[in-house]
Symmetry: D2
Subunit: 160 residues, 4 copies
């Protein structure tokens, strides 16, 4: 069972640049997380984009869509910023024959207290068990894109 | 969807006692892990035992079995030492109408580099998606107790 | 030997606000660091400012100066942004009868990989051993403000 | 200013062990700590022993003594188990012309919550500021070996 992992940026991969006093997106952290947990699955990481999800364009979503669609793999985990994760998920729903789980984090993976490890694990587990379709893995739950929303004030995903 | 969490001890909850120069089992860490990841599921933690799994007796396994069997919940996550996790899992297979996922860790949850968070997340996700039965969640994969073994030398679980 | 700790903000105390996709300065972390290390010194924390050091004004520096000058304590550790730490240090050099050590961090204390703990420990140690005067504790070394500079490109403090 | 670092084992470098484990003490962690904090001092690490300090023999202490005595360096930091750190410190007091600071940790450096980083930073700072002699750096304070004791129940070092 091989999982194709596509990274697109988002809070999960943010780093702190002291010299600019700002956060930017760094190398994807998912490889470290999977190695650190001694995950014995087969997987391949495709670093596709490095954007805050508020900055993703239609062209970017088209790129994610076409990358998944053109890939013969059946199982996909996509790490993504949480602000427009649902929007991207909906844009992938017309791709047949694949299980696609999007996840991200509210706190960067490089933080001591982060939801990144937990969310990645949820996505990696869910993608092995779900039927074909597109899903989100956040806050320990699996959501369908048409029935979910990000509650910004409460910093979590919820059922619509 | 409410998850009943039963903690039994194991490496996952070990702490270091400097004054005795040894590791012992401390308070279960799963609550911290779930809070830290902002998990929005409903769950209830039942701290049942605090044993290294090499020290679990038939009576202990009977207690775990009866605790699960007598509980009206349908979904169970059990944190457990990895050395005899498969043995306990097999002892629970006759309980009908429940999804039971056992997990643990090779490195204590209190370590900086630990598989505990990842494994707990896998178990919590899997228990929401699997059919009735007993399973193990380790190394990013879901195992059936009759088809799994702990590879002690490689420090991981594998298919038999 | 009692140490007065004054916190003024800086990278050391930065947190990430996902809902605003930005960093801000949060509660000072030095108390957690000292408790976590089981430090048995007497100390008192005075949270004075919560600013990025690039935003400190002459009035702010005057406030820090007067707060130190009016305090009967002899030993001071000041946590501060690294960008203008030297400037603030120089502004304190006319205060007699005190040992004042400024420190900060290039990576927020809330990060898994941070220099915050190390730097705080250096400052707390140095303030107990140095003669009266103003100093910086960064990168494992003690600097005099007139003989130091922040090398922004290399992200460290150096001798002038 | 070059620091010679001698590692001898102790809790600071302990890895997870249970009754099946072959080893208790792992690779010295001090290098990681110094790199992680971007310490710009010159230092050299000499991994001498890998023992719990309760297991150190007179021959071991003789080895530590002679290693320091024969070395032309002036500044030494020695990481050591806390149980007999004072005993070793006393055995080094006859070596002239050197500043020797012993430190260790109550919780392994590999733990998420550890005093190791703080203590290493204290020792590295103290060794640059102290007069010739032998000292202990624990709990944020500098102790002289003849005037200190480990309070085992309270898990800390105190003045005699």
């Amino acid at each position: 069972m091989k999982i194709k992992i596509i990274t697109t940026g988002g809070t999960i991969d943010k780093i702190y640049f002291d010299r600019k006093s700002e956060f930017q997106i760094g190398d994807p952290q998912i490889a470290e997380v999977l190695k650190g947990a001694n995950v014995t699955l087969e997987y391949e990481i495709c670093p596709l984009l490095r954007k805050d999800s508020l900055d993703l364009t239609d062209a970017d979503r088209g790129l994610i869509h076409d990358t998944v669609g053109a890939d013969s793999s059946r199982l996909f985990v996509i790490t993504h910023g949480t602000d427009t994760m649902i929007q991207t998920a909906r844009a992938l729903q017309d791709i047949p024959g694949k299980v696609i789980v999007l996840t991200g984090a509210m706190q960067p993976a490089r933080f001591r207290m982060t939801d990144a490890v937990f969310n990645i694990a949820c996505a990696v587990t869910a993608v092995q068990l779900l039927q074909d379709g597109v899903y989100l893995a956040m806050n320990g739950r699996i959501f369908q894109p048409d029935k979910a929303a990000k509650n910004v004030a409460m910093n979590r995903f919820e059922d619509l």
